[in-house]
Each structure stands twice: as structure tokens, then as C-alpha cells.
Amino acid sequence: MANQIDKINTIALASIEKVNTLTDANIEKINTLEFTGTVDPNKITITNQQFNNDRSWGAELAWDPDTDTLIVMYGDDGNGDYPTYRLGKLNATSGNVTITWESEVALSSAGAGYHTKPVYDTGNDRMGLVFLESGADSSNRYRIAFGTITNSGATPSMSVGTHETIHATSAGTYNQGDGSDIAIYWSDMGAIVTALEYGDDDSDANFVKAFKVNTGDNSVITSGNNELMFADTAQERYSLTYDSTINRVVIFSYQTPSSTDTIYGNILDYDSGSTNGLTLQLEKSLPGTSCFLGTQGSSAGGSHGVWAAYNPTANIHHVLINETSDSDDKIRNVKISGSDGSFTIDPHTTYELTIPDDMDTYTTIWWNNARGMLGVAGASATSTSGAELRGLGYTFTEDTGTEADSTFTAHGTAVVFHSTYYGRYFRFDNDTTADMHTGNLAAIMEFYGGSGTEQGIIVGFDTGK
């Protein structure tokens, strides 16, 4: 949308705070003329931000756009660390927000849920629930289930089908994700793809597997799904993106061939003619396409979370790494082109965005679809009394003629949106539907030592535009 207005009643736009009580971000047209204002980056103040009054491990959130319902999942320290979820409603889609929560629901009492991820299946209108059951059956297993959220008046509830073990193992075996990005919805395939390290593999390699929902009873369809190795490494550090230009899931993984820290890229395919269309394939043979020398960037501070995001505006993948050559946390880009069977994964190495020092610990990145910006958030350092989190949005402009002239442009200056973060796991919702909020929300655990409060809370940051 291009701005067609310079002045209102002879007053320059920069001198006008509101028009008929509306800030410029909330005005699209004036007398049929298109109007684009600017919005500074800002903290979203959340009333009822607490979703659990106990320590909350591996917290993650997702959004159901069909019922406008927020879901947060976590391991509940106040209740056996069991994988637990809670549904909530937001009272606004921009600015400050009040959340109205439903009661907590423990999904399982079979094991501890230190790692969770809800993923919405937009094709079948189901919430996919992926969670760890540590200790269950004397093993370390992950499970998947599907649920239907319904609204009774303004009160949401979820009917959950039978859970399925993602990869069954024998006693004493550990399947692990350790805070990596363990699931993503693939709309073209109509399935949720999980990514885990399998402890019974000879080298503890990483595998993907796809699951669909039986909409009749919300059970998990498994017949036909294969277990496909994507990284033959005992590391379990990977991040998943959905490339909406080629309609494929892309995996970035940390591997160490010949003891060299390397970030690899690969692209998933599926066989639509296989049983239930669930068989996964790799576009690139192992270990994938070598992209950058380094480790995943969000390791700084001992944190885990998401470190890659797809930018549909520029058709580019932003990848947060810690580069070996200078030990800096930075975002480098990967461009994917071509078509089925002949894709090219092109790592851009002639430009970069170095993460500012005040955000290079516990760092995560995400795509803010409503604003068309890349979000970056993190802390300056770990802290014994909780870390201060700040966020900043960037616009990326690609120079397709001269790659090195591509630029990241910060929108304003970083904003502190939380002051006492515990660390360990950090991810903002990757808003692709833009109907939840113009900003983005994250579920985090509060620092709880000393006078800190034992709780899980929702925090919010809007990159502005």
C-alpha cells in the first residue's frame, strides 16, 4: 500500500498523533486515499500474561485462526512436569492485549514434558500437539496428538484424540530434541512433520517423520509414514521453515563432518502416491548442501529455540548462526530456486546482519507477516537475576543484481519487552496468517531465583513498520 497523503489540514503527518482517536497504524484510507503511517517498535503490554503459576518448561504457543484461540503448551513443574496445555482468548489484534485463560489440562501423566510444540493444521482445522514424555515406559519418547478446538460462546475447549508415539524405543533409550524446532505443518502435504534424534540409531542421527489426522476421531494416521534421516550426527540442532514459494519444508541443521562446525540445508519432498501420501524424501542427498561454517546462533547463553525464518516477501531464508571465522552471531541468508528434483540451495556469503551485542544471547528470529519484517530478539548476557529481553525488526532488501549490495535495515531502535527471563527456550510465534496480532507473542519461563516468581508468562513485541 503506497502512501498518498502528506498533510492533513495543512499539518504534516509527523506532527499528527491521532485522527479521530486512531493512531496512524490503524488507518488505512482517508477520503479514499491510501494512507501508510509508521509504527515504532513497541512492547505489547499483556494483562493476565501468566499462564501457569509454577515453573513451566519448554513452553511454546500456537494460534488457531479458525476459532481465534491461543494455545500454550509446557511441562508443568507444579504437577510432575507433565505436558500441559492451556487455551486463551485475546481481546485485541493490535496494541496491548488482555488474555482470558481456560483451566489447565494435563495431556498425559505418563512422563515429563520438558519439550513441547503445538502446530496448527490449517487444512484440517486441527491443532497438532507434539510433546516429550520423558521417563514414560522407561524411555525418553515423544508423542503426537491432534485436537479440535471449539467455541462455546466465547469459551474455547479442545477435544484431543489418541496420542501416538513418534518413534517407539526400548527401555533406557533416549529420543531427543533438546529444545530444537521439533515440528512444522506442511500445508501442501497436509501433514505435520516432526524432527527428532533417534537414540536407537547407531550414530544417534536426526530423522523426520510425517503424520496426518483422521478427522473422524482425531486419531493419528501413521500407515505409510517412513522415518527419514536428514542429519547423520549425534547433535540435535536444527530449525524448520516452510517455503511458501516452492511449498516445501526446508531443514537447516548443525552437523560436524570432519569435526568442522557446519550449517547444512536440505529440502523435503513427499511421495503423494505412497500410502496416505506420508512417505518423505530428501531433495539433497546426505549431508545436504553446506551453507555456512559455524554453529546455530541461538546457542549463545545455553538457550534453545528457533534460528531460521522464511521471508516470503523476499523469498529468502534467514538463518541465525554463530560463524566460526569471527565467533559472531549473525544472520545469513539462503535463497532456494529451481523446481522438483533440481532445486538449488544458494547460501549468500557476501553480506550479513551481525546481531547487536545487546541481543546476542538467547537470540531467536521470526517472520512478522503483518508488518513484513524480520524480528530479532535476545538479551545482552545471561544474568543471575533474570535476563532483560529486547527486540528489533529489520527490513531485508535483496539486490538481485549484486548480491553483496543486499541490505538489512533496522526499524528504529531495540525495545526492552521483558526484564527477568530465565533462559533455556525462546521462540516467537511465526505469524503467517496475521490474524492473531500485528505483533508477536512468546511463551517463556520467568526467572525464579531469589525474589523471582515461579511462573510461565506470555510476552509480546511488535516490530512496528
Binding site: N53, D54, W57, G58, G78, N79, G80, D81, Y82, T84, S103, E104, V105, A106, L107, S108, S109, A110, G111, A112, Y114, H115, L132, S134, G135, S138, S139, N140, V160, A171, G172, Y174, Q176, D178, G179, G302, S303, H304, G423, R424, Y425
Partner: protein
Amino acid sequence: MATAFRRKSDNKVVVLLTYLTDINNINFTSTNMSCTMNNGAKPITFQDVNTNDFDRIDDVTAPTSFFGNAMTYIDGTWAVDNTYVTLVNNQREAMNIDEQINPQV
């Protein structure tokens, strides 16, 4: 005294309610179990705790330190499942959680 919910298949206690307020607010059915915890402060539903797979045991003497799913309760005697404790603590370490669970009879 406490109320325990014990899994029939392995005698593991998954929920232990110690407040009278919580014990008086239990809805235990063939589908699930809803109750309050923390003296009424935490209403919660357990989706897999039901009358088919679990027993409700009232008037239980609580152990020194309870952790859900890490202890059995058989004929009035508590015991720690050390295999479960080790698995959980190893996973806590892998997730950079700097505290270990330590259930005590």
C-alpha cells in the same frame, strides 16, 4: 492425609492431593479426572486419568517428597522408581535445567 491416583498397570502414583480443599473438589470419571491443586488455586483436568486405568486411594500418608510418576504405592508402602528418576534427570540436564528431581519416601 492425602488422596492418590495410582495407575493400575504399574502402581505408579501420578497425582497426590494433600489439601482438603483439593480432595473435596475431585471429579473422577471413566473419561478423565478434574480437580483443583495448590489448595484450590489451580483447577486442572488430567486427560488420561480415568476410572478404567487408575485407582483413587484416600487417606494416604504422603511421602517426604512426592514427584508424580516417580513413585509406586503398594500395600501402604511408598517406593522410588530410580529408573524413572534417572531418565528424567538426564533429560533435565539435556534441556539445561539446572535442578534435579529427588523424590523421597
